[in-house]
């Protein structure tokens, strides 16, 4: 299946892009995608604990099951105000 990944704030610098498309095995979960991203962009290993992840408009954990066409967002801790 295919999912789109969008990076926000300084995570765009870590990825070298603001948007990517990732191919995953059927039944893959968010954790599988994150491992693929860390393999492709090793800088994300350093921010493993502080990385926030959303699917669509909701925060999700690594065991969240992905669907074809999902839009995943990765970003650092938020700083509004």
């Amino acid at each position: 299946m295919t999912v789109s990944v969008r990076y926000w704030s300084w995570f765009k610098d870590l990825a070298g892009a603001d948007h990517e498309v990732h191919e995953l095995a059927p039944e893959a979960c968010l954790g599988d995608l994150l491992e693929q991203i860390r393999h492709q962009h090793p800088g994300f290993e350093q921010v493993r604990k502080s990385t926030l992840v959303a699917v669509g408009l909701e925060y999700q954990n690594a065991d969240h099951r992905l669907k074809n066409g999902d839009e995943v967002s990765l970003f650092p801790p938020v700083q509004g105000g």
Partner: protein, 134 residues
């Protein structure tokens, strides 16, 4: 509970926002909070902060916070919040919040809670724009 959320790119006009207030005969407290951009980031002087928002998710998460605020402080009758994004120069407002409630206690508590939660879950980030005079 009345709720109003705006994510804007232009400067906040406090007078216009205040004129939009509605308060019932039972209201006894109107609390306004204004967050403005400090001239320093750590020990460095800055000229502005550049705010970026994942806007659809920010709107969604603010909506969930308003739902939770209404559950927790059911007597709060109005919450309005405006967050500016893009480049906000030092001294200008990035955040305006208004809470209307029967008594000051729930207004102060709910406003503090809302801003704390915003800083935890609403996807907005800021980047310092260097070059200030300190």
């Amino acid at each position: 509970m009345r709720r109003d959320l705006q994510v804007v790119r232009e400067p906040l006009d406090e007078d216009v926002l205040r004129r939009g207030r509605s308060a019932s005969a039972g209201a006894g407290a109107v609390l306004h909070f204004l967050g403005i951009v400090r001239g320093t980031e750590g020990s460095d002087a800055i000229r502005a902060l550049d705010y970026e928002a994942f806007e659809p998710m920010a709107v969604h998460q603010f909506g969930k916070l308003f739902d939770a605020l209404e559950q927790r402080w059911p007597r709060v009758e109005s919450v309005r919040l405006v967050h500016r994004v893009g480049i906000v120069p030092v001294g200008e407002a990035s955040l305006w919040v208004e809470i209307v409630s029967p008594h000051r206690g729930e207004a102060f508590e709910s406003c503090q809670w809302l801003i704390d939660e915003m800083k935890r879950v609403v996807p907005i980030w800021k980047k310092a724009v260097p070059g200030g005079s300190g």
